[in-house]
Symmetry: C2
Subunit: 86 residues, 2 copies
DNA sequence: ATAGTATTTAGATACTTTTCTAAATAGAGT
DNA sequence: ACTCTATTTAGAAAAGTATCTAAATACTAT
């Protein structure tokens, strides 16, 4: 975690779209992948980066992996942006 | 401009540092470059990206180019972050 | 045990970004 | 006009990121 990892994570449109989707509620990896014209492997890679940056967390259930949004991480970024231009 | 350009611009630590420096007041390209262990050409490249994304603006005076922070661009990003996690 | 589904990991390739050096531009002062 | 300083642009090399396909893992259900 840290500012750099967070900002890098948010710098890709696919990853921002994933977060927006998860804002509406928990989703499985497959449901998330279905939104994109990308292989599941690629979406899995993006999920991994978001998870590493702390934006999402996962839990297994049956043979699905559910992802959910983790809002606490946004605070540092918001603080930084507010200090600069908010 | 647009979300993608803004986020990409903020995704690099050098560029974030430049914005922080400019928060304290207008600076010339040279003064900004002096903060980094990078060539002036490289810093100039980062300034160009920040300018294109609308985060900074420039004006010439003698043979210096002064850069200054442009806070209005932060609003879209703040809105997006607030909607998601704020 | 086997077969099927969901997802990730590995390795390769293509693309993008960052950085450098050298050359170009522009303006200031002599 | 010439020289000096400030800065940018061009082109190339290096590093980093996104993507794919194929193989691996893990769990379910028969």
């Amino acid at each position: 975690m840290g500012m750099n990892e967070s900002m890098k994570a948010l710098s890709d449109p696919v990853r921002r779209h994933i977060l927006e989707k998860l804002k509406a509620g928990t989703r499985t990896a497959g449901e998330i992948a279905a939104d994109f014209d990308l292989s599941n492997a690629t979406v899995s890679y993006h999920l991994k980066l978001l998870k590493q940056a702390g934006f999402i967390s996962e839990h297994k259930e049956k043979n699905f992996i559910y992802y959910e949004l983790n809002t606490t991480v946004f605070e540092d970024i918001l603080r930084w942006l507010h200090r600069l231009g908010g």
